[in-house]
Symmetry: C2
Subunit: 347 residues, 2 copies
DNA sequence: CATTTCTACTGTATCGTTACAGATTGCATT
DNA sequence: AATGCAATCTGTAACGATACAGTAGAAATG
């Protein structure tokens, strides 16, 4: 009579080694399914010895909770959605981020689901989908704008998330960001140190928040170190061929710069091509500083002065932040900014 | 009495616009939940008019089946797992593959879950996890070996999958592969066309299947076009610094090659560095042919002769193959090999 | 000794969906 | 009029987990 609940239900498992469930453990321990469930989550109303017994059997069986069961009953998906822009992305930017995220998630029950979208299309669509279908417990997004509508929506709907990049409209949320202001400032410094004074900036598209950071760092740099800007009318999102052509024209012109600051590693390759197409050479006629997320530029031209942005680390930070947010930690405590590092160039 | 099933259950939805379920539609149409379920999957025992009505209401409500419900009941996860090696991966190889896969999956109910692992560790672990927990309907794996234990296990357990690369042990399974044999053969041809006769090969690690393909293509190429091999004792998986150093030594030696075939884009960058460190120049002292998955090499040195491997296309093919396999299509019909393309170099 | 209070455990209902085994109705057959 | 049979529709149970509302027994209380 004590096992009335199990009786006749788990008359199973004679031959086939099927996946164990709570019922299996309940049957083996002689306990009720509820008790097993509560024992495994260390509930206070279960005896210490019972918990121990349940845990042993569970480990023995290699029990892993059925995700669908949990999700259906509790709504918890154990999924983190990574929203990625499918365009651009020449270098392994997002791979690195994915790997950073996975590193953190591998010690947790979370899975990572990639939700891609074309950023030329509606960037809200994937976010809306996730919210409407409740298909994730947390979200990670990139390419943040100062008053990002995705951030607004996610906040409004109470969905935990972290961003790669900051907003700038009084929104408080977890983020990880690279200190682009410091990068641009230091970049100018490096150039001036080498005697360069007329500096061009290949900047990100102006709608992204870090455009402003780059601009500010660049301009205070110019001011602090006494240099001037040579305008460059193209941004890092442009096709590489366009960047090269425009840089070539600029380098051939009368007021060609003697220094260039480049906000993206892939673009730096095109910039370099433009420079060389104009018959100029790095280190001789001018210097270039570039940010990169993958250490590749110095393999191409050792003369490029590079700052490293550790995107894998960013992935780790954001994963930790989302999980913390899911666990109720205040957003204010989940914000971090990483500094550029300047590996000794050359090899 | 007709609505006894719904009665008292769906007395809900007064204010809050909650996510619609079958029950919601059942309530609105006055039908039973079962009928709605069957109507939506176009079952033969539901009247045409009823189906139409149900579909209209469902569309109106923006109904999307609850994944946890479906998964719990049917075991269908609607997930494709992409198993990725977290190491290496300098360039955006896997991003491109992910994007290719997503393109195909975006028109389906499938989600893509990234399951990363360190390929220095046990490569079976993620596959075992997926099988044991039934966490996906299909799997995509790369870095295939001739007698790949993952392929064996997945086949044995009846899990649909596709591989990036072939096996070579009588295993029949869906795959997409790049024709590395053709690439290597054509690469030799290109070099010989340029008057090169002493050719080195930077080959993949020998445990991977395509090592043999590259070797065969290379050797028949040498034979067909009358060239000889200069041995190069390092493979594409080696750290870039090692590759450069070894290539430099080779290029300084008495019997330096006058042509190099390189099986990976990232490695080509290091090879080039080694060549230049030895004071040699591409196009003058020697030529290099390299495969690349992202069109970057010619930005670095226009002289590199490049073959394009379209990894995004590979992602598409594999996604289509896994889904077809899930739908019961025979593996024999889901195998494809893509040919190298040789874009006009220069720009 | 009766009553309350804990401790430790359990049954039932439920999440959303679908498989299965009926129902109900109308019509054609005998 | 009884029977058979499609054509449509429906209720119930189940997938695995957990929230909730208990229950049984022991111990503490009055």
């Amino acid at each position: 009579m004590e096992n009335k609940g199990n009786f006749g239900q788990t008359a199973s498992a004679p031959t086939a080694r099927e996946r164990p469930t709570l019922k299996t453990i309940a049957f083996m321990t002689g306990l009720g399914v509820t008790t097993v469930s509560r024992a495994l989550k260390d509930a206070p109303d279960i005896g210490a010895e019972t918990k121990e017994r349940v845990r042993m059997v569970a480990r023995q069986l290699g029990y892993q909770p059925n995700r669908a069961g949990v999700r259906l009953r509790t709504g918890k998906t154990n999924v983190i959605a990574l929203v990625l822009s499918i365009d651009e992305e020449i270098m392994g930017f997002s791979s690195q981020m994915v790997f950073g995220i996975s590193e953190v998630l591998s010690g947790t029950p979370y899975h990572i689901v990639i939700t891609p979208h074309s950023h030329s299309k509606d960037p809200m669509q994937p976010v809306r989908y996730i919210l409407d279908t409740g298909s994730a417990d947390g979200v990670i997004i990139s390419r943040i704008e100062p008053d990002d509508p995705r951030v607004r929506l996610l906040t409004e709907r109470g969905m935990p998330f972290a961003t790669h990049g900051r907003t700038d409209a009084g929104l408080t949320h977890p983020f990880h960001d690279f200190d682009n202001e410091a990068f641009a400032h230091q970049a100018v410094e490096k150039l001036v140190e080498r005697g360069r004074r007329r500096i061009a900036l290949l900047q990100p598209p102006s709608k992204l928040t870090y455009y402003a950071h780059i601009r500010i760092g660049f301009q205070t740099g110019l001011h602090d170190y006494g240099a001037e800007e040579v305008p460059l009318r193209v941004n890092t999102d442009a096709p590489l061929a366009d960047i090269r052509d425009i840089v070539e024209v600029m380098m051939r012109s009368a007021n060609a710069p003697d220094g260039i600051v480049c906000s993206a590693g892939s673009a730096a390759i095109a910039v370099n091509a433009g420079i060389e197409a104009a018959g100029k050479a790095l280190g001789r006629d001018l210097d270039m500083v570039s940010k990169q997320s993958v250490p590749i530029l110095n393999w191409i031209r050792p003369e490029i002065i590079t700052a490293q942005e550790d995107v894998r680390q960013a992935g780790r930070e954001m994963a930790k932040a989302v999980i913390a947010r899911i666990d109720g930690v205040e957003p204010e405590l989940l914000q971090s900014v990483s500094q550029p590092t300047w590996p000794e160039s050359g090899r």
